[in-house]
């Protein structure tokens, strides 16, 4: 009896959470001309059409670029910061922590608008630069938090020992600390990648001629038509994210870090 109610609760919750995704996959496989569920017959034509839409290719590349390099930049800034916040007794470390975590608290649409008004327009930053910085800032809190928690689990005496044995502090970090937190770093990378790739509000105001992130381009496409190709593209992207997470999970047990 108890088992039954457990599965009813979980079944309903999961239907609510996953159902729309399944509908999108099927709506994208429609043979008809408009978005509908159940679809009017099945065909892969919309899945194929996605690849022929030129602007999707450009915006996919831009989103990939932002997600990969923005996250790498955030890690380059975030790993040393997390290390310093964990291992050193810094004056004002709470302030630093708050500043670094701020991008997660400020609503994305405001960030996009602020960067457009005060960086792009007066300082001649390109939209791509502004997007890159916004995405880096957005991922930074995750990078610091996730790396911090894996540093917490790593005892500081290991590095001390390495230093006593003749390593410089930097060597100790590269040879001892980094290998031990690589799971956390990878988890931070994936979390950052997915966050950046799916980000909408930040990019809403940050678009220019020929420069649009993929989610914004999908919205722009919906201004032209609601045909099932956006559904097909959404499904393809979801599979891509899932594949990345799945591989990471297999390799490193990624979910431990989330």
């Amino acid at each position: 009896m108890k088992n039954l109610s457990t599965w009813i609760i979980l079944g309903l919750t999961l239907t609510f959470l996953i159902g729309p995704f399944i509908i999108i996959i099927l709506a994208g496989a429609s043979a008809g001309e408009s978005l509908a569920f159940p679809p009017d017959g099945l065909s892969l034509k919309w899945y194929l059409k996605v690849f022929t839409i030129e602007s999707f290719r450009d915006s996919f590349m831009l989103s990939m670029f932002l997600a990969i390099f923005g996250t790498l930049a955030a890690l380059l800034l975030g790993i040393p910061a997390a290390y310093a916040l964990n291992r050193y007794n810094l004056p004002g470390d709470e302030t630093i922590r708050t500043i670094v975590a701020a991008p997660i608290i400020v609503p994305g649409i405001i960030v996009g608008l602020a960067l457009l008004r005060y960086l792009v327009v007066p300082l001649d930053f390109t939209v791509t630069m502004a997007l890159f910085m916004a995405h880096t800032a957005l991922v930074l809190p995750y990078a610091v938090r996730v790396v911090s928690s894996s540093l917490n689990n790593l005892r500081a005496d290991m590095e001390e020992a390495a230093v006593l044995l003749g390593c410089t502090r930097f060597q100790a970090f590269v040879k001892v600390v980094l290998p031990n937190i690589r799971g956390g770093v990878l988890a931070a990378f994936i979390l950052g990648f997915v966050t950046s790739f799916n980000q909408v509000p930040v990019s809403l105001f940050l678009s220019g001629p020929g420069v649009k992130t993929l989610p914004i381009d999908m919205l722009a496409y919906m201004e032209i038509t609601y045909d099932p190709s956006v559904a097909a593209l959404s499904a393809l992207l979801a599979f891509m994210s899932l594949a990345i997470v799945f591989v990471a999970e297999r390799l490193l047990g990624f979910s431990r870090y989330v």
């Binding site: 408009s34 978005l35 990969i68 457009l116 220019g208 001629p209 020929g210 201004e223 032209i224 038509t225």
Partner: protein, 339 residues
């Protein structure tokens, strides 16, 4: 995978800068039918001028905001927008008067398109009628007043006041109620009273098409340029010919002020206004021609806003009236309709 990707991204970035050194024209256009435009207009022009077109798309409000934001150093060289948006840009001193000697095709345009907002600040390149699309199997539409009537209650959509179609609907609803004062506040109040009967105030015709295709909405005012979306549907849609007539509007071309790329922009504008391109665009059923020399078949004409007789019969709202009153309309709309 990652390394090939980053190489590809770098390659893109390099290609991007290389392109910028060639001749480039940045244009800002409505987002619909881009594939068809590419074939009928963009590709042939790129071949003709040996230059690259960079195309920014979006609805006119967003594109206007961007032209305004980049006023000091225009990113956009030329844009096509509604006549009242052009007037608004003109009043803000963001666009330059056109040098008609650069536009040899100008004389071929319908008189109404030649100088629609005065001072040669814009030229019209297309007219559109605006009427009501409805489901013939579910309802009969004979008047604009039917939009607020009992038979479509709960299944009607109106265009949002902030878009181009919104004011046209106000004008026609006023006409239907015998109000010819040009003061639409009573119309807005009327819409407010029926707000619960209106599914949504749409802002994109693509959204409306989806709603009508999934039977959410059975009647709504829409521009003729969107008619092809409905015509191709398996559902029985019709274009109403209401007793008060059809509303109409015009889209125009403008030149941003001080863009430094005027020569290429004129070349593009003139090409777009040519009989050759206007005919091709008309035959692709994208835009109705503003060029009087364009001749199309009856079948094509049925899909467009075509011919002097029809164009002269349209109820056209003065752009100045829209600009001068819009703020008050939006204010009243926000208080009484979507509060």
């Amino acid at each position: 995978m990652k390394s090939t990707l980053s190489i590809a991204v770098i390659a893109c970035a390099v290609a991007g800068t290389a392109m910028a050194e060639d001749k480039t024209l940045t244009i800002s256009v409505y987002s619909f039918a881009q594939d068809a435009y590419k074939e009928a207009l963009y590709d042939p022009f790129e071949e003709l001028c040996g230059c690259d077109l960079v195309i920014e798309t979006g609805n006119s409000v967003e594109r206007m905001a961007k032209i305004e934001a980049n006023a000091d150093d225009p990113v956009i060289d030329m844009a096509v927008i509604s006549s009242h948006d052009a007037l608004s840009l003109s009043r803000k001193d963001l666009i330059a008067p056109l040098d008609l000697s650069q536009l040899s095709n100008h004389a071929k345009l319908y008189p109404a398109a030649q100088d629609p907002i005065g001072g040669n600040m814009a030229v019209g390149y297309t007219f559109y009628a605006s009427s009501i699309v409805y489901r013939t199997d579910l309802v009969e539409i004979g008047s604009w007043a039917d939009l607020l009537g009992e038979k479509v209650a709960g299944r009607v959509s109106l265009p949002n006041i902030t878009g181009t179609q919104g004011p046209l609907t106000l004008m026609m609803l006023a006409k239907a109620s015998g109000n010819d004062t040009g003061d639409y506040s009573s119309v807005i109040s009327d819409i407010g009273k029926h707000a619960d009967d209106i599914v949504t105030f749409y802002s994109r015709s693509s959204e409306l098409a989806q709603l009508m295709n999934q039977e959410e909405v059975i009647a709504a005012p829409v521009g003729r340029f969107a008619w092809s979306r409905f015509k191709s549907s398996p559902l029985p849609f019709a274009w109403a010919e209401p007793a008060e007539g059809q509303a109409g509007g015009m889209n125009v071309m403008i030149m941003t002020k001080g863009n430094g790329n005027e020569e290429l922009a004129y070349q593009f504008m003139n090409y777009w206004l040519s009989t050759e391109v206007q005919t091709r665009v008309a035959e692709a059923l994208i835009d109705s021609p503003a060029n009087t020399e364009v001749v199309v078949s009856q079948e094509v004409a049925d899909n467009l806003t075509y011919g002097a007789e029809l164009i002269n019969s349209l109820n056209i709202l003065d752009p100045a009236e829209i600009i001068d009153n819009r703020e008050a309309w939006v204010e009243q709309w926000n208080t009484e309709v979507i509060k």
